[in-house]
């Protein structure tokens, strides 16, 4: 019995050695189906590109794949290797970076991510902010101009760089001499805009700042702010300016008085008188008089006060129009509490930025804005991880070697114990 056991171990050893021999002849390095995880991908890519390319590669994506790795895989696929991948845990993450059309600078960052993920925004100097994504991802805005950002979530990273630099033209304010025109103009100038103005003052003439021409041209003005129709020369010119790509911020009263209904942002609705004295304990805009907007079907309400639309926007051909229902916003600056000046300035700058036409100059940018989308674009949709090859790598060889060693050791030990040579 013992001899039979020794012979069995001997035969098992010979069989395993034979299997190794056959396997080494069959599975030459770099051929057949290769399964690899992202951690070892660089080394494998190097081997596949310098020793021998496999017939098929399957990458299990469990963390970020760099653009270089993606491109390398795509090159491999173009050279004839069938490249597949799977990645059930890959986070669909994308980030876009846009400069705010505001002379004060600022950057708008939009991140697409599944709800409930912790997103960390960073640039080369370090972390900027973090937030848990909501139903539509997340939005960040910074006062400082950023050239590039990264968003991290778990082991996944998306990054974006500015595609364009922007430059501005001047602004034109049209209205009548009064606190509203004075303080809106002041706020926009404080923000860095160069402002021309035409303000009605008397039957004998207007107050003119700068040299505004009668014909409005988007190449000259990034946006026009119409606070009152009194000094408006030719509403048709204003409509033409918008259709040619200009930005317009206009009050409800001015729009209706000037016969600008063809802009079709909305019509005036309920009139709410101002709160006097100003209530600084609540939202400052709650104390302003309001001519509510009944927005047109294709207009977008931008701001609500209670259930009334206070600001609405609409695209008109190549231009954009924002309709403002508030009256005397200067009261926000003067009577709206300690932060009224800054809030009023930022609010008006935001309105103008939302419509302003700016000139874009492309910037050279290298970024990985949507890594998952890039993988799909380059390598096609994910496929199931092959079950039969999941154990076809190191696992069987290791066990086979262990079995060989055990069989030989058993045979040698048995023979020594019974005194056989």
């Amino acid at each position: 019995m013992r001899v039979w056991l020794e012979r069995g171990a001997h035969l098992l050893g010979i069989a395993i050695i034979a299997w190794f021999l056959v396997d080494s002849l069959r599975a030459r390095p770099g051929t057949g189906l290769q399964v690899v995880e992202v951690e070892g991908l660089v080394a494998e890519l190097r081997r596949w590109s310098t020793v021998a390319a496999p017939e098929e590669v399957h990458v299990t994506v469990d963390r970020a794949v760099s653009p270089v790795q993606r491109e390398w895989l795509a090159a491999l696929a173009a050279a004839g290797t069938r490249v597949r991948w799977d990645g059930d845990s890959v986070l669909p993450l994308a980030v876009a970076l846009d400069p705010v059309p505001d002379p004060d600078g600022g950057t708008r960052i939009r991140v697409a991510a599944p709800p409930g993920r912790t997103l960390v925004l960073e640039d080369d100097a370090g972390a900027i902010d973090s937030v848990v994504s909501g139903g539509t991802g997340a939005r960040f805005s910074t006062r400082s101009p950023l050239r590039g950002v990264r968003v991290r979530s778990g082991g996944f990273v998306a990054e974006s760089a500015l595609r364009d630099s922007i430059s501005f033209r001047r602004l034109l304010v049209i209205g009548k001499v009064g606190w509203e025109s004075g303080m809106v103009t002041g706020a926009l100038e404080e923000r860095g805009w160069q402002v021309d103005a035409r303000l009605a003052l008397s039957p004998h003439g207007d107050v003119v700042q700068g040299a505004p021409p009668e014909e409005l041209d988007p190449a000259r003005y990034s946006a026009v702010v119409v606070l009152d129709s009194a000094a408006l020369v030719g509403p048709a010119r204003l409509v033409r300016y918008v259709r040619d790509g200009g930005g317009l911020v206009i009050t409800t009263r001015a729009a209706s008085a000037a016969g600008l209904a063809r802009l079709r942002v909305g019509r005036p609705g309920r009139v709410v008188p101002p709160v006097e004295p100003f209530d600084t304990s609540a939202d400052p805009r709650g104390s302003l008089g309001l001519t509510a907007i009944v927005p047109a079907e294709d207009a977008v309400p931008l701001e609500l006060r209670d259930d009334l639309v206070a600001v609405a926007a609409r695209r008109v051909d190549r231009g954009r129009v924002v309709l403002v229902g508030y009256d005397d916003t200067w009261r926000w600056r003067m009577a709206g509490g300690a932060n009224g000046v800054e809030e009023h300035r930022a609010w008006w700058a935001g309105l103008v930025a939302s419509v302003a036409r700016v000139e874009h100059t492309p910037l050279p940018a290298v970024a990985d804005e949507a890594p998952l989308a890039a993988i799909v674009q380059l390598l096609g949709p994910p496929s199931a991880r092959p079950a039969d090859i999941a154990t076809a790598g190191a696992f069987p060889r290791g066990w086979a070697f262990a079995a060989l060693a055990a069989a030989l050791l058993l045979q040698w030990l048995s023979r020594r114990l019974r005194g056989a040579p």
């Binding site: 009548k176 001499v177 606190w179 003052l201 008397s202 107050v207 200067w330 009577a335 009224g340 000046v341």
Partner: protein
């Protein structure tokens, strides 16, 4: 309906803030005469230490007597100017080194820093009417009742070229306190309140 321009006179604890009570009505009249500004037909008197001050971005302060602002008045006026309010102070005495002048300029400089002479080619003097020689003289300066002293400049607290606080010791208060139509008839000078139009228009458009 937007709020019309309101001429506000500042009430302060010390001195005689009410010494030129006809000024608001006369300035409103002259603004209505020359401009199409939307105007509140009546001026208001507002305590300079009250939150209501911030509803009136144009503030006129005058008086004859020494002025000492309370800490709350100082803080409110300082914040008022920071937010964009325009403060116009006129010395009702029309003299040099009078008590109002000395105490008021000390108060203004304590709050805002050094008062500067406003150059006579400043935009203030072209804001509506043209005053190529700077501030127009008053009847006092032309020996109506006065001392033949001609103050040939105004002073201000400036932010660059922009005037935030305008200070006059030309005694426009006396000039505009008199019914302007009568005043104009008995003097050789032009309508003395034209400069008031410039001051208001400048405040609204600076």
């Amino acid at each position: 309906m937007s709020k019309p321009f309101t001429f506000a006179t500042g009430i302060y604890a010390s001195g005689d803030w009410e010494s030129a009570s006809l000024v608001p009505q006369n300035v409103i009249d002259v603004l209505a005469k020359y401009t199409s500004l939307e105007l509140n037909p009546e001026g208001v008197n507002v305590r300079i230490d009250s939150p209501e001050l911030f509803e009136y971005p144009f503030l006129f302060i005058t008086g004859h007597l020494p002025v000492f602002f309370t800490p709350r008045e100082r803080a409110n006026l300082k914040e008022y100017v920071r937010r964009g309010g325009f403060l116009f102070v006129d010395d009702h005495n029309h003299d040099i080194d009078g008590v109002f002048h000395k105490t008021m300029t000390a108060e203004l400089e304590r709050m805002f820093g050094k008062l500067k002479k406003i150059p006579n080619d400043h935009r203030l003097y072209r804001a509506f009417f043209e005053f190529p020689d700077g501030p127009p003289t008053t009847s006092h300066e032309l020996n109506g009742w006065g001392d033949n002293l001609v103050h040939d400049y105004l002073m201000g607290i400036m932010d660059g070229d922009r005037i935030d606080v305008l200070y006059s010791n030309k005694d426009y208060s006396s000039e505009w306190h008199v019914k302007l139509t009568e005043n104009r008839d008995r003097r050789e000078v032009d309508d003395p309140a034209k400069i008031a139009v410039n001051i208001v228009v400048y405040a609204l458009t600076r």
